[in-house]
């Protein structure tokens, strides 16, 4: 395909046209990122009166700090849990809805709704549902003999934030899976049926392999979501507790920096997060370009 090449007279017009985007990027992304990198090398007292240059000391301390290492593993559990839960539920819903003909659009609309809800609202919603004294689910669990209390049990708290975070992401995953399923020609499924494959086998040997590009894309998106986009949910439900059990990296940046006022350490943590996000983005671009599988 040929794209038409615009040529501008002089130099200033193209720069002027690019300027708004460049300025926004500089002010809201590059400058804060630079600030974070600079601050990660400093130590500051709680009142901001004295600042000392400490080199990589902040980073070194982090990797010796049990709380930070705990936060790393909490984040890993949380991200993997959220991704697995939201993707498997979304795939189940998408393949069910894909079988419907007339009611498909109604179900799709209903299933996309949670995505429009603000993270904090979603958090509060789940906080109510799971509230140990007034919630519906602890009440039901109590009847089967389980004492739910996410304020004292770290495992309960983790389950709660995973549910809340996954629930919000299901809509997004559902839409992509549904689109992926609809792009698989019906005749492939029919050919497999004639070839003697049971519905279950058809799904795992034909449908699922053909969904790998979608699955891989969603996996990266979901991990990024769980790691960076779930601050609101955690803040509204567990606030990182009990005893650090749900203190993910992003939440720790906030609590160390804005609550604990340890700005140097907080900045060092966000620089590490930045490195992780860059790595994930590279992985995503690499593989999406190459279209996994076939």
């Amino acid at each position: 395909m040929q794209t038409k090449r615009m040529t501008f007279p002089g130099h200033w017009l193209p720069y002027a046209l690019l300027a708004p985007q460049v300025i926004i990027t500089l002010i809201f992304f590059i400058w804060p990122a630079g600030q974070a990198m600079y601050q990660s090398l400093l130590r500051e007292d709680a009142f901001g009166l004295k600042t000392t240059f400490v080199g990589l000391e902040n980073f070194a301390r982090l990797f010796r700090d049990g709380a930070y290492l705990n936060s790393l593993s909490v984040t890993a559990v949380f991200a993997i849990g959220t991704t697995l839960l939201s993707m498997s539920v979304a795939l189940l819903l998408a393949s069910t809805v894909n079988r419907m003909i007339r009611s498909r659009s109604t179900y799709t609309t209903l299933l996309v709704w949670p995505y429009a809800i603000a993270p904090a609202i979603a958090g509060v919603l789940w906080w109510f549902i799971f509230h140990p004294s007034i919630g519906v689910i602890p009440y039901v669990l109590d009847m089967v003999g389980y004492d739910w209390n996410h304020r004292t049990s770290g495992a309960d708290a983790m389950l709660l934030v995973v549910f809340a975070a996954a629930w919000k992401q299901i809509s997004y995953n559902f839409l992509f899976f549904l689109a992926g399923l609809q792009s698989i020609p019906q005749s492939l499924i029919e050919a497999a049926a004639i070839d003697g494959a049971s519905p279950f086998k058809r799904f795992w040997t034909i449908v699922f392999p053909l969904l790998t590009p979608t699955t891989f894309f969603l996996m990266v998106v979901n991990v990024v979501y769980a790691m960076f986009d779930t601050f609101g949910i955690i803040h509204a439900t567990t606030e990182g507790g009990p005893s650090q059990a749900t203190n993910t990296l992003v939440y720790k940046v906030y609590s160390d920096g804005f609550v604990g006022l340890n700005l140097g350490s907080s900045a060092a943590q966000s620089v590490i997060l930045m490195a992780i996000v860059v790595a994930l983005t590279i992985v995503q671009f690499r593989y999406i370009e190459r279209r996994v599988n076939y």
Partner: protein, 351 residues
């Protein structure tokens, strides 16, 4: 190997849309039957009912001696070739062929032997390790055929398998499919909208229109004695010319037409039966003006305007007759070339 019997087969969608309105047909063991008709005539639906991909609203379907109405596609012992080939894009050609065998619990040696035999037969041995997207259209078509015959099913069902190929390849594959079917002697049901494909491939044709059978017969039977005006217009290219009987009474020698069956009001004449030279047998003549001359190499198509008639008419002659556009021609039509029809019923008159 098996016969296929359809008894009063019906398909109704949503309670009131009849796609297939009661089909009775019996296909002999080893026979090659072609379902042909315009789009929307129900031919694909009928094939998919035989395959088990569409449910049967009413009627009985037998493959061999078994009633298979309620059996899953896999249990019917049939193989199907799809219009878009439906090759599994993430599997190699080898695995595409082996998939059905693996599902049927064949052991490794049997699979290997069968795949290799099928691949040799279709000359795709060199491509066994490739993925479908690395193949050309014709090669994909062969793989689709291979996937059908590797299982050695009781019947082949083919749903417009050649329509995605270019014209040259289509003719080549048509010949190969015919030869393959002769060699394997597997009962085959083939769906197409292309009347030439239907004529050349089938032992018998089933012409469908509006969910019903118009005519069943060998290609030559249908060509020589179309049972209805629809069949007359559909089989043969260019299509048969239809003229009101009165027109011939006025224009030609009406005397020749007296022995036509009663209630004949329309006559059909094939484009190649309108002759520029008078034949020896009894015939009558009409006057016409040449509107457009189409040379197609070995044959020519003459689009003419009959005198005192609005009816568009086509003549086919071999070679290139010495005529030019605007000429007035005298056309000779032999008595035995006339097909009598009744326009109200659309049927051939006189049985």
């Amino acid at each position: 190997m098996a016969s296929i019997t359809l008894e009063g087969l019906k398909k109704t969608y949503g309670g009131n849309v009849d796609a297939v309105k009661g089909i009775d047909l019996s296909i002999e063991d080893g026979e090659f039957v072609v379902l042909v008709g315009p789009s929307g005539c129900g031919k694909s639906t009928l094939l998919r009912m035989v395959a088990g991909l569409e449910s049967i609203t009413q009627g009985t379907l037998k493959i061999g001696d078994r009633v298979v109405n309620r059996l899953e596609p896999a249990e019917r012992d049939i193989a199907m070739v799809f219009q878009n080939y439906a090759l599994y894009p993430h599997m190699t050609v080898y695995n595409n062929l082996a998939y059905g065998l693996k599902n049927r619990k064949f052991n490794r040696e049997q699979i290997e032997a069968r795949v290799q035999t099928a691949a040799r037969m279709l000359e795709i041995t060199d491509f066994l390790q490739r993925k479908p997207r690395q193949l050309s259209g014709g090669q994909r078509q062969r793989v689709a055929m291979g996937r059908a015959l590797v299982r050695d099913p009781a019947a082949f069902l083919l749903d417009e398998p050649l329509s995605n190929l270019d014209a040259k390849l289509r003719v080549q594959m048509r010949v190969e499919i015919k030869q393959l079917q002769r060699r394997l002697k597997t009962t085959s049901l083939y769906v197409t909208h292309d009347q030439l494909e239907a004529m050349t491939l089938g032992d018998r044709l089933v012409v469908l229109n509006g969910g019903q059978i118009e005519q069943v017969g060998t290609p030559m039977e249908i060509y020589a004695r179309p049972a209805s005006m629809f069949v007359a217009g559909f089989i043969g290219s260019p299509a048969m010319n239809m003229l009101p009987l009165d027109y011939l009474h006025v224009q030609g020698s009406g005397a020749l037409l007296h022995d036509l069956p009663e209630n004949t009001d329309t006559v059909g004449i094939r484009p190649d039966d309108m002759l520029l030279q008078a034949p020896d047998s009894p015939h009558f003549t009409v006057e016409a003006t040449l509107v457009l001359f189409e040379a197609a190499g070995a044959e020519s198509h003459l689009y003419v305007q009959l005198a005192d008639s609005e009816q568009p008419t086509v003549i086919r002659t071999s070679g290139q007759p010495p005529v030019s556009e605007g000429d007035t021609l005298t056309l000779h039509i032999a008595r035995e070339a006339i097909h009598p029809f009744n326009s109200a019923s659309g049927k051939r008159t006189g049985g």
